[in-house]
């Protein structure tokens, strides 16, 4: 009989609980753990979930109890849990906790370093003088076989052949639990680790999640991140997400998206919902989207972005650099820069390279290309990819029939359009 310092959750569940006089108090159903609070002082283990209470079945009912002087000992091959005394826990103590087995065991969690979903075969815990904590999750084959009960047999069979059964643990710091659907309460700072992931990795993860988790993970992201993730998702998935959010939240996220992406998404929504969203969005954002929505699907206008930087021909290189420093535009807006006349007509284009190689006092009319390559907003989409590749263009200006600048088609969207076409063949 040895007292254990590290133990597995799966083997704790279903164990009999004894008091000091060897009376059976009940069977362990689950354990309540508490996520660390933000204001907590930094103790070594404070960032790991700590066992707060046990959920036990005493034969008559299921009770939430706290135990005093718990000891987990290994008795032959089984665990035995012993405590000095047991008291019922009022429900308000459990308000910021979750059931470990219910939310983690056998569920999918995000492996932050591996940037993917993994299924939890077991949870490794440690018992210290300050309490019992979650250390790591077991996602390897060893844990799976141990749960099924054939690990030792297989290990013995494979040993003569020098074959090792692979085991894989991930530290709790490097995972994010996501399936809180069984909880009635909202945790105060959920999914903080997810915000460190790249939007396209997050999008892949979200696509693989169940419905409830999808919504809760997405809602927990901040709006900038949410917009970036939404952009990376497939159209059908975007619609699912937008429909599952409240109108206010959905509108906030859509405002942060490039107008052409938002317009694409809205085209696929039901008309009423799209109208409600446009109503809820900030006027300047919804105006751009409304304009883009007017273009038919197969026209240049439907994939162009209206986020463009425009100048007049008398401004100097120095002026432009100052403006760019102030406005901090997205990378795509710098693919091509435009010079307009007083009537908003396109008279020239220049690139960031032109800016970098010219002295600050040079006026734009000296460096601009005054025969820019351009397309019309109602032109067919088919031609654009050839032109982009032929002339090595990153951004092509789009004008209406009066030669007024409407926006720009950027190479990323041309590529997306091509990929879409290939996918639907």
């Amino acid at each position: 009989m040895t007292s254990l310092t590290t133990f597995y959750l799966s083997r704790l569940i279903g164990c009999k609980l004894f008091d000091a006089r060897e009376n059976v108090l009940g069977k362990i159903v689950d354990v309540y753990v508490q996520l660390p609070m933000n204001n907590q002082t930094a103790v070594d283990n404070s960032h790991r979930p700590k066992i707060i209470a046990f959920c036990i079945n005493d034969g008559k009912s299921v009770r939430n109890v706290s135990l005093i002087n718990v000891q987990i000992v290994k008795f032959n091959t089984r665990y035995k849990v012993q405590c000095q005394s047991m008291t019922d826990v009022p429900s308000d103590v459990l308000s910021n906790t979750f059931l470990l087995k219910d939310t983690i065991l056998d569920k999918q969690i995000v492996d932050i370093n591996g940037r993917k979903l993994v299924r939890v075969n077991d949870v490794r815990m440690v018992a210290l003088s300050s309490g019992a904590f979650v250390v790591a999750v077991d996602v390897g084959l060893e844990g799976l076989l141990r749960r099924i009960g054939i690990f030792k047999v297989l290990k013995a069979i494979l040993q003569p052949f020098h074959i090792k059964i692979p085991s894989k643990f991930i530290l709790w710091d490097d995972v994010e639990a996501i399936d809180f659907s069984s909880l009635n309460i909202k945790l105060n700072t959920p999914f903080t680790k997810l915000n460190t992931l790249h939007p396209s990795d997050l999008a892949d993860i979200i696509e693989d999640l169940g419905k409830d988790s999808k919504t809760s993970v997405f809602s927990a992201l901040d709006e900038e991140k949410a917009a970036d993730v939404l952009e990376e998702l497939e159209t059908k998935e975007q619609i699912h997400i937008i429909e599952s959010l409240s109108i206010e939240k959905a509108a906030d996220v859509l405002e942060k998206m490039p107008a052409n992406e938002a317009a694409d998404l809205m085209e696929n929504l039901e008309d009423d919902r799209a109208a409600m969203l446009l109503e809820e969005m900030k006027p300047e954002a919804s105006e751009e989207v409304r304009e883009l929505l007017q273009y038919p699907d197969s026209s240049i206008g439907s994939i162009m972005t209206t986020n463009v930087l425009t100048f007049n021909e008398n401004q100097t290189v120095g002026d432009v650099l100052n403006i760019i420093r102030q406005e901090k535009p997205e990378m795509a807006e710098l693919y091509n820069l435009f010079v307009l006349d007083s009537e908003h007509r396109l008279i020239g284009t220049f690139t960031v390279r032109d800016l970098l190689v010219s002295s600050p006092e040079t006026p734009l009319k000296k460096i601009m290309n005054d025969h820019p390559f351009q397309v019309y907003d109602y032109d067919k989409l088919d031609s654009i990819s050839e032109l982009v590749s032929k002339y090595n263009l990153l951004g092509v200006p789009v004008t209406n029939e009066k030669e007024e600048l409407e926006g720009m088609v950027i190479i990323d969207d041309v590529v997306d359009d091509l990929l879409d076409k290939r996918r639907t063949i």
Binding site: Q108, R147, I148, S181, G210, K211, E234, K236
Partner: protein
């Protein structure tokens, strides 16, 4: 009036976009094993067992509807739901059974490929490796939308069995009578046959496939009525094809007292009775059905086993990203092919044992499904209506009772 017309066309368009999961799953039901079972049933019992298609249809419809509903509401596959709610041990039992049964099923599909092409004079040592390679390429290099379109064409071509049946000049009024007022001898072999028909129409792995394809299509609960129509058409198509296979064999082989062991025998025996064309059509349908299921089955199995045990899975992953998945997929495919190409392979024993494992697994999977679909926590307001539960439990009881009585009788 114009708005009505518009919404009518809009509905048709929505339906066509949703179309797929039910119809494809229904068609995969009529795989090589299925066609063999229906042929033998028709040849051995004439019209006597045609009535079994009616309860089969009801159960098929109800089971698939539950799958579709669970898929839409939870967004999770059946394998995931079982693992998350029933724990590792139950999952292990179900999926080991599923894996073994599906290796057997895959073998049957390749037996179908070999058998049907032998009728057209192609040796199995050419047809099996060639088809195996095509299947592998289609899955690994193709994509889902493309594959689905091919599958839908496959499904439609299964209707060729109507031609085979009509060319045998069946006695329609006798068939009608036997459905309305079934008469059959109750004995071990007829009961085995009935269980075989039900088991092949509602194979366990189909439930996993159905639920995953609903999720793959990203269907919404607002599209539920279209999904129902899709399942209805799929289930109907399944029993209609089964019906015509049984009629084709009953009106010719049963009348002439010709014994057959598999669908290939049936196609060959049809030649002198219903003409060369009817025989060729029968063989063609058999080939299509076999290759269709040979594509879906190994892939589907590799997916569910990976999903249940948390292995990385997907044909968009590289071999070293998802080694377990690829080993499973390739392994199942290769094992099925190797068994067929072995001289003197015990094919009848393999197909018998596969059916037994299927018959044991089916009630287990059905019970898991009924328990899951009734969980408020998972399904919210979309749990089962009482009538669905009654039919579900009734089916489970009948299946278990029949399986048990068949397992016990040999020892009496």
């Amino acid at each position: 009036m114009t708005t009505n017309k518009n919404s009518f066309f809009k509905n048709i368009a929505i339906f066509l976009a949703i179309l797929g999961p039910g119809i494809i799953t229904g068609s995969v039901d009529n795989d090589a094993g299925g066609i063999t079972t229906y042929s033998v049933a028709g040849a051995l019992y004439g019209n006597q067992l045609i009535w079994t298609l009616i309860p089969s249809f009801i159960v098929l419809f109800i089971v698939q509807e539950m799958n579709a509903r669970m898929g839409i509401v939870t967004g999770k596959g059946l394998a995931t739901l079982i693992r998350e709610n029933a724990g590792v041990k139950v999952t292990f039992f179900i999926f080991m059974g599923l894996l073994i049964a599906d290796i057997g099923n895959t073998t049957t599909e390749f037996a179908g490929v070999a058998g049907s092409l032998e009728i057209f004079g192609v040796s199995k040592y050419i047809s099996v490796p060639l088809v195996g390679l095509i299947v592998w390429i289609l899955v690994v290099k193709g994509n889902y939308t493309f594959a689905e379109k091919i599958f839908l064409i496959f499904s439609a071509s299964l209707l060729v069995y109507i031609i085979s049946a009509v060319m045998g000049h069946p006695d329609w009024s006798a068939i009608g009578k036997s459905i309305v007022k079934p008469e059959m001898a109750l004995n071990t072999s007829s009961m085995t046959m009935v269980l075989g028909i039900v088991g092949t129409t509602i194979a366990p792995w189909m439930q996993f496939y159905m639920q995953s394809s609903v999720i793959e299509k990203k269907l919404k609960i607002s599209q539920y009525k279209f999904v129902l129509v899709d399942i209805l058409i799929g289930s109907l198509a399944t029993v209609v094809v089964a019906f015509f296979i049984m009629v084709a064999c009953s009106s010719t082989l049963f009348e002439q007292h010709i014994q057959i062991n598999d669908a290939k025998d049936a196609a060959l025996a049809l030649k002198p009775l219903a003409g060369e064309f009817a025989s060729a059509v029968f063989a063609f349908g058999f080939f299509i059905a076999s290759i269709f299921s040979a594509v879906i089955l190994p892939l589907a199995t590799a997916f569910y086993v990976s999903e249940a045990f948390g292995f990385e899975a997907g044909i968009d992953k590289k071999w070293n990203e998802a080694p377990e998945f690829y080993v499973l997929y390739t392994g199942i495919l290769l094992l099925g092919m190797i068994i067929i190409l072995m001289p003197n392979a015990p094919l009848i024993a393999i197909s018998l044992w596969t059916q037994v494992i299927n018959a044991v697994l089916l009630p287990v999977v059905l019970v898991s499904m009924i328990l899951l679909v009734n969980k408020k926590k998972l399904m919210g307001e979309y749990t089962n209506k009482p009538i669905v539960n009654y039919i579900g439990w009734f089916t489970v009881i009948i299946l278990v009772a029949m399986s048990l009585s068949l397992l016990v009788t040999p020892f009496l």
